[in-house]
Amino acid sequence: MSERIEQLQAMIKQADSLHLCTEMLDYSGIIEYYPEELVMTAKAGTSIAEIQATLAENNQALAFFTEDQAESIGAAYANGGQDLSDYVLGIKIIDGNGELLNFGGQVMKNVAGYDVSRLLVGSKGQLALVTQISFKVLPKSYIAKLTAPIKSTASSGLRQKIEQKLKQVFDPRGVFN
């Protein structure tokens, strides 16, 4: 475990309220990339531009829509929709208690436990600090034209209630806001 992760855990444990922006975490870089696996694992602060450049060396690319190349993969994840979710394979997070947790993995097929790595897509950093993300990539020739996902803001009362309770699961002290 890296020193930086331990610092972040300690910071979250002591904090009452934090607003963390992945770009500012000083935690970036590609951890693992095996072109023949079509899988990359990157620290959350890694920029989309860096990821795309590395993938391009192997004629591969991200298969979900990204707008801002300077944005981090962590930010794309936090604001992501279903198209990004489809390519997420696993995450490491620090929850509101400062615990480092691992969900999903680096393989395409994985049905062990609830799909937390896709549940937190679009969670806007409100549930946990996502530290690293594994995602599926594709050869360029298999990627159709990518467009921004359409999101519907209509939300039922029941859905809102469930989302609030899920926040309490990951962040019982309400640290992340």
Binding site: E36, E37, D86, L101
Partner: protein, 479 residues
């Protein structure tokens, strides 16, 4: 009212014949596709509409009675095995295809519709439903969502989760919740996929439909060594090709399949690769040329020249499980998934363990996804053989986790892999899972005890969470 039993209340609430009771009558529901585990429920309710499902849930909740939702009962991990004192909620009567939208390529279906029935219903429009678990002729779409089922073609077309547009669930309180791909906010639709009936009852599903490829051709490549064959799998992907299917079989599986289906598999090969490419004629030809170049090191190559030949080559693969099943009284099917680069090492390790435990293993699997299905052959009548098989199986699953993979790629945890879950997740992670269930089902009435092990179970097992293969005290034999 209060002195009536749950069964009596169900009998009163639903039309005649919709509630099955009694030892003999409930027998067909005592297990799912994993028949080692059997348990008779209090009763089986077979509602035909959403209002009736709500009635069942209301009665069960009022009586604090667990509900085990069941689709077609083809699951392989015991997800639909009844619990003692539970009511089985069978959804097989909800089998209407409610609407088909060919422009948007969507179909709205009830949960009891079989996987194949969807493809059949939309075939006339040149469309099909892509995920194809081997049991597709029988398995229900509701069960597919509950398990996030895979299949031979998910390498290119994705798993169930990738092919579902929306689901409507009933909570244990009977409230309706529709979750769609467009929803802003948390990924609740993805959460529902693979939740094994623990969070809600799926009552309606909108599936995505895929245009039927103009053409599909399959290449059969035989290899003199398992390692060469496994490396060829990685080479195909490395070459920038994503085949529609990429399946591998070892010598034992080849012999079994050929003996059963007589489709012309080479019996002298150590390993066999089936690689399917699909698309327009031009796409297929281009990919085929590339695939044949990558596979030029094979000891023999055969390409299907027409649909009959293609189906014949697949027939052996698709009948591999029953074919192997003929060779021993019992077999145990594993479902671990590993990164593709470790395929050859894993197969060698399984081979070593097979010798060590004196149990034969046939390997038939979705090589393209790294999803292994080692079939361990055993005889439950020989004392100690089941225990040896389970120990062997546990070692394979632990290896899968150590290699950066998972204990289950597509069959689910159910009751079968509860112990293995203790290896993949630590206490804090398991706690999160339990709390997620409690958000939806605080009294734990929906399929309780499945999918996520109780923490004390892991503690009693003495299981230790393995991180990146760093086992504490690796010198000690475990179990």
């Amino acid at each position: 009212m209060t002195c009536m039993s749950v069964t009596e209340q169900l009998l009163r609430a639903l039309p005649e014949g919709f509630v099955i009771t009694g030892d003999e009558n409930t027998r067909p529901f005592e297990c799912d596709g994993l028949s080692v585990y059997r348990q008779k429920p209090l009763a089986v309710a077979l509602p035909e509409n959403i209002d009736q499902i709500k009635q069942v849930l209301k009665i069960c909740k009022a009586n604090n009675t667990p509900v085990v939702t069941r689709g077609a009962g083809t699951g392989l991990s015991g997800g639909a095995t009844p619990l003692e004192q539970s009511v089985v909620l069978g959804l097989s009567k909800l089998k209407k295809i409610k609407s088909i939208d060919t422009d948007k390529r969507l179909a709205v279906v009830e949960p009891g519709v079989t996987n194949l029935a969807i493809s059949e219903a939309v075939a006339e429009f040149g469309l099909y439903y892509a995920p194809d678990p081997s049991s597709q002729i029988a398995c229900s779409i509701g069960g597919n969502v509950a398990e996030n089922s895979g299949g031979v073609h998910c390498l290119k077309y994705g798993l169930t989760v990738h092919n579902i547009e929306s689901v409507t669930i009933l909570t244990i309180d009977g409230e309706t919740l529709t979750l769609s791909r467009q929803d802003e906010g948390l990924g609740l639709l993805a959460l529902m996929n693979g939740s094994e009936g623990l969070l809600g009852v799926i009552v309606e599903i909108t599936v995505k439909l895929t245009p039927t490829p103009q053409l599909a051709r399959v290449v059969m490549a035989a290899y003199d060594s398992v390692r060469e064959c496994a490396n060829a799998v990685a080479d195909i992907i490395k070459a920038g090709i994503i085949p529609a299917g990429l399946e591998m079989m070892d010598k034992f599986a080849i012999e079994a399949a050929e003996g059963f289906a007589q489709v012309g598999y080479p019996l002298d090969a150590e390993a066999l690769l089936l690689c399917e490419v699909d698309g327009t004629e031009a796409q297929v030809q281009a990919e085929l040329d590339q695939v044949l170049e990558v596979l030029s090191g094979a000891s023999s190559l055969k390409v299907s020249n027409n649909e009959a030949e293609r189906l014949a080559l697949w027939k052996g693969r698709k009948s591999a499980f029953p074919a192997v099943g003929r060779l021993a009284p019992d077999y145990y099917c594993m479902d671990g998934t590993i990164p593709r680069r470790h395929l050859a090492d894993m197969l060698e390790k399984i081979n070593e363990l097979s010798k060590q435990y004196k149990l034969r293993v046939a390997n038939v699997f979705h090589a393209g996804d790294g999803n292994l299905h080692p079939l361990i052959l055993y005889d439950a009548n020989i004392p100690g053989e089941i225990e040896r098989t389970e120990e062997f199986g546990t070692k394979i699953l632990k290896l899968s986790v150590d290699m950066g993979g998972t204990i289950t790629g597509e069959h689910g945890v159910g009751i079968e892999k509860l112990n293995a879950m203790c290896h993949q997740f630590n206490t804090k992670e398991l706690e999160i899972f339990h709390k997620i269930k409690a958000v939806f089902d605080p009294e734990s009435l929906l399929n309780p005890g499945k999918a996520v092990p109780e923490l004390h179970r892991c503690a009693e097992l003495g299981a230790m969470h393995v991180h990146h293969g760093e086992l504490p005290h690796p010198e000690l034999e475990r179990f």
